[in-house]
Symmetry: C2
Subunit: 538 residues, 2 copies
């Protein structure tokens, strides 16, 4: 067989050669639409820009940007010229951004002009940065933060106009293509390096119907940020498939997202549950006949949310599970053919599982701390471990040594799951979020799922709080729908018939909002801090 | 990233773990149905059998068999224990089978009992063969050819019952998994060796919607033989997808195939045009509501055939192009999204193209004998060249040196094609079949397509015959529909308005049947021999 390297230039070439008329649309206050043909030409020029700027052959190219067509240019120009794309999370604390950019040794950062205000204060603490390229995403006449009078600053379009398009070539599929840091839900973000090979394989895995199943008939809108685990692979999979792309740009409001879904006739759109929770109240009387698939993950998709989408739009949410460490898509929760005759509520329960691994990925659950597999009976729970061609083996230069991989080559996810006899994963909780009550585990995820099915509950997060007798007991932190008046006791009464007696939370606290992480997940770390001194009676 | 090998054991494991209830059905006089669970157990035992028989660690395991569940067991047991599956073409001339089995150095051959009559006469000329395992595919009470009293002979089921299941493990994805010889349409078959990696990638390519797009909701019937380019990858792709499989066994009659399509509720079935041409007359009044996709290739799919399927069943044929050397699926001819509003006859023309490369495959056309790319304007024609992770670099120990690969790493296909501006391939002809008239080319494929659209024409093949002035001129060899009375002149009159004047065949010869190759393609080699002395006037 030919020694053909699985590298991103071949994905780029597909979009350029076969789909030059497909489009890349960026929303926001200064909307822009390019054809893939135009995009490809710009991307080749951007490769020339990286050469002109003197970025090292394998240098890290940082981005500090919204989802946009320009961001997609960077997604390919950096790796296809041998460099490494590094997408910085614009919502992290300044200290974290500084730490990460220095840790990755970014030589250049491409910053959206609308984000300069966030970025400039960090500049003094980024000594390795040789260039800052500003991408002007503001409409004509808008207020613009001035670009400092500093020779390191450049304008994206000016550079592009002056550059020559380059030929792309990647020698070795195992070369680094990109890096991402984890979301920082449980602690400091950790770096993961993706190879061309892993990204190529992840992309084609995403294209299969066992994955996300997109193809050239689709118009794909990744609402999930391009700095959050590569926009779940959609920014690579769409060009590979020849699907048009729609990016929200800086407007991440529910209204803005809904407008794009409608106006751009999006067929497939992906985001974390918080995004769809935000869009949900706007859906009354709205029809989105083109929208055929709504992938969602990053945290558990509440059954009630998916069902609400099914009721309002006729299409439920497609849950997927993954991690920055798994490229990220590892499982997807399609209702298996054998179950499609089940009643709708039973199918909804199946959809609330994390589902089956994509082709290429293998799963097991083990007794925590061991490599002894547990049975697939949907009862036994243990640490979920995965292996496959797009699963990380290690973190990028961790500050403290982390043993990500077991002695027999599987990745430890830190998630706890059960697996049914057909291999469908049901995530019980993160190890760190399990409530450990009297030596037994209580799944915060399951309790939240039940709580969020209550009509008066908008959001709910369950954390463990110290208990004199049981070590830890669950506390339900509940955000009510506007105008709702239900009491804590009523909520507990509602739960009581649905859970084992000892799973019932000891208390309900009403809060204004569940704190969110940089990518919109429930931040239980923050909740635990807030309720650190919570006092429970024996 | 993890150093995960793309090997067939991971495909096997998917079927075993996630789809144990999906089925493998074998038709014919002794039908049999297994679940994937049972199949997987048998396949693991078969691995044990290969050990017990003492087959070398990388020994070639020959098969001489119909499409069947047992054949599928061999498809995985051989490569997943490190051996190399070698599927012998049961329809070749005895001399060719002997040559190929010796050339591949097969240590064991698994023979269907119904094929013993073909196989036994070869035995004395296969000195390397250490074992012959007979797979009894005959019904109870049927006449059975006696198995020779020779210690090298074994019964498949006896061996399996005595064997222990083994663990599968493949060290290196670049290891050989299987080998096939080409169909021998243009000369002696040539061997191609597939690696685990190439087969794995081909399988997942086939799963995408740009490929064949099968998934776990499908019931897949490969009518294309398992000895013909790996049944076009379906015997690997279906277990990877979790799709049930239906094999025709020894009954390859149109009636038998139609019966299976109906009774087994097949959703996807693939075969060469001859197969579907045979099934077509049976389709009147037949409904096949489950059949959603009919992949077809190996030779050009006549537009009239595809349209007849669309008219009768509501679904046209999906044309695909490939070669034994390309694993084989390289392109597939889905009507692009941008063209789905076209009139049906225009879409039919698009479907008569060979279509777009699968993700991973790249195409170009070049000036024959050079590596200079020609434009993609659908006008320029040149040799089609391909590259990708499942494209062969060389033949297996060819008797005479063959330069399959260009100096810059592309495979020379020996096919002539045009490419349109969106990368869709239109095959003009095989280089060897082009009619060279006065220094210009005439496409035999295009003439045949037009001829076969004539209502009275059942089959038509066009070959070049010697001409005193023009070197070669086209001769149309036509098989009429039963009872038809059209004359040669009438056929030429029918063609005249549809082709350039100098493309019009010089003569029409009526024949009883177009000779076919071992896999059901038109054998122009045989026609050329038959009409070698054909006399054309100046
Ligand atoms: N469908 C899902 N259901 C439940 N949990 C999910 C799902 N998808 C992802 N997750 C959770 O998200 C995690 C991966 O998220 P990500 O890689 O964004 O970083 P993080 O784990 O949130 O942050 P950090 O590792 O820095 O603490 C998984 O380990 C899992 O806990
Ligand atoms: N869809 C198609 N349309 C036209 N021709 C096709 C199509 N698919 C395959 N072919 C022809 O079949 C060839 C590949 O066939 P295969 O590998 O079975 O061996 P062969 O070329 O027929 O035999 P040999 O190489 O031994 O002469 C291609 O090179 C092409 O000529
Ligand atoms: Mg994590
Ligand atoms: Mg050939």
């Amino acid at each position: 067989m030919q020694n053909f390297q699985l590298s991103l230039d071949s994905i780029f070439l597909r979009a350029e050669q076969f789909y030059p008329d497909k489009t890349v649309y960026t929303g926001g206050p200064a909307p822009a639409k390019l054809t893939y043909g135009e995009w490809a030409d710009r991307t080749r020029r951007l490769g020339g820009v990286l050469d002109t700027l003197g970025i090292s052959a394998d240098g890290r190219v940082g981005t500090f940007a919204w989802n946009s067509g320009r961001h997609l240019e960077l997604y390919f120009a950096a790796p296809c010229t041998g460099r490494v794309l590094h997408t910085l999370n614009i919502r992290l604390f300044p200290d974290q951004v500084v730490y990460i950019a220095n840790h990755a040794e970014d030589e250049v950062v491409f910053v959206d002009r609308s984000l300069l205000g966030l970025f400039l204060p960090l500049l003094d603490r980024l000594p390795l940065l040789r260039h800052i390229v500003v991408m002007d995403d503001l409409p004509a006449g808008a207020d613009r933060l001035e670009v400092p009078d500093d020779p390191r600053f450049h304008d994206y379009e000016v550079l592009l106009a002056a550059a020559e398009p380059v030929e792309f070539h990647v020698e070795d599929e195992n070369q680094a293509a990109a890096m991402c840091y984890t979301s920082g839900t449980t602690g400091n973000p950790k770096g993961v390096v993706y190879s061309h090979r892993s990204t190529w394989l992840h992309s084609i895995g995403v294209l299969t119907n066992a994955g996300i199943g997109l193809d050239e008939t689709d118009t794909v809108m990744p609402v999930v940020p391009m700095f959050h685990a590569n926009a779940w692979g959609l920014a690579h999979a769409a060009p590979m498939a020849g699907a048009s792309l729609v990016f929200p740009g800086p407007d991440m409001t529910p209204q803005g997202i809904l407008k794009l879904l409608q106006e751009q006739e999006v067929t497939l759109s992906a985001g974390v549950p918080t995004i769809w929770q935000g869009v949900l109240p706007l859906l009354d009387g709205v029809e989105l006949p083109k929208l055929r698939r709504i992938p969602c993950g990053g945290s558990a998709v509440p059954l009630a949310l998916s069902e609400a989408f099914r009721e309002k739009l006729g299409r439920p949410i497609l849950q997927a599970w993954g991690m920055t460490e798994t490229s990220p898509v590892a499982t997807a929760s399609h209702v298996p053919a054998r179950n499609r005759d089940l009643a709708e509520d039973e199918q909804a329960h199946l959809r609330s599982r994390q589902g089956l691994p994509l082709p290429g990925v293998q799963v097991r659950i083990v007794e925590p701390g061991s490599i002894t597999p547990l049975p697939w009976d949907d009862e036994a729970t243990g640490e979920l471990q995965v292996c496959g061609p797009w699963i990380a083996a290690e973190y990028y230069q961790p500050d403290e040594p982390v043993q990500l991989t077991t002695e027999d080559g599987w990745m430890k996810t830190g998630d706890v799951a059960a697996i049914d006899r057909f291999g469908s994963v049901r995530l019980v909780d993160r190890t760190k979020d399990l409530v450990k009550s009297g030596g037994e585990w209580i799944s915060s995820v399951e309790l939240e799922n039940l709580l969020m099915a209550h009509p008066d509950v908008k959001e709910a997060a369950v954390i463990g709080v110290r208990h004199p007798k049981w070590d830890e007991r669950p506390l339900a932190c509940v955000v009510l729908q506007e105008g709702a008046t239900v009491t804590g006791d009523e909520i507990l009464e509602y739960l009581r018939p649905q859970v084992a007696k000892w799973w019932l939370p000891d208390a309900v606290e009403f809060i204004d909002e569940v704190p969110k992480t940089s990518v919109g997940k429930f931040s239980k770390k923050d909740l635990r801090t807030r309720f650190a001194d919570y006092h429970l009676e024996e």
